[in-house]
Amino acid sequence: MVPLSGCATLRSAQRPVLLAEDMKAALADYKWPDIQRKFYSSNDADRHGLTRRQYRDEVIWLYMRAIDSNYAQFRSSVESESRGSDFAFDLVLAALAGITSVAEADEVGPFAAAIATMIGAKGSFDKNLFFDKTLSAVLTAMDEERAKRRLVIDQGMQNDEKNYSIVRAMADLTAYQEAGNLSDAISNLTTEAVINKRDAVARLENAAATCDSVEDMQQVTADLRQLLDATDGADNTKRDIFAAAFGLPAGLDKTQLVQLVGRELNKDYCKASLRVTKAAEIRAALTP
């Protein structure tokens, strides 16, 4: 057993050999949009003799290392801030007690600032939920989010440069970088507590539960809209047929139908089956 001195300052991580500043400096020759031009160049010499795929992978690797290095530095600062000061939790208590002025928070580091932002943005913030989910949970959530984003990049790199271009890679790297964000991590943990259910319209609830992929239904949607547009005129008969297909009352004008039928379509915006069925039904009913 090695006794720990009560006076020793204990760091939560080893001192880095690869410094964030060095990693960022290594990106000096890999700036956007210059890398896009080099990536698409037909001459390998523009990419230091690398193929497009090799160049893409090199860019991804360099950016990923720089982001990781930056994140490690940031995470370390958050941990030391939370151990070194009770300010963050005092701030939470103060805010929850009804003291709303948190302007000074910007001066005290990322954790306090993130909490201040959170409290400022979420009036219905659930304090019990927050205290159940302490700092380690927030950090874990942040790490998990980064791991998910990292997986997307790793999977992308299994593809050739045509199916995973430098543009897509840079977008994924941006997402990877933004995943290391305290506000989002806290927000993700407390989303269920703060979401305003009244705003969760049927479209979003249904889509979130069932809409894992989106079908191409541009054509059938355009067909449906053209059928509706063709009902324009003084005679309500055709519009009533259209309305009946969606279980709507007769006597609606075109503007009302656009809104009300659109609301029905919204309930199933990722699946084409409803629209195909309705278009066929209406077309048949309108055909003499």
């Binding site: 989002d184 979401i195 319209v201």
Partner: protein, 94 residues
Amino acid sequence: MPDELKYHSRHSLGELELGLRNDEQWWGALTAVEVLENYTLATMGGPRPALNSLLLLPMIADQAPPAPSGAELICKGKAYVSGTAIGVAAFRLG
């Protein structure tokens, strides 16, 4: 009269682009995109555009990527892509 459409946060960029293209055929052309709470909010209105004419590309830092050949920038904003809010630029072909 513009309409606002909501998209959940898990869509990939391609899925979101397709969802927007689908909805444009009912609600009219995309005019703005932003993130709100935990979803993407798109504003649409006016004439319906041609099929497959919308292109959604990620912003790099605060810059819109160069316009693809034959396309023009419609709007810049933020959208949830695979769970993360990122800057996006919407272009119209033709």
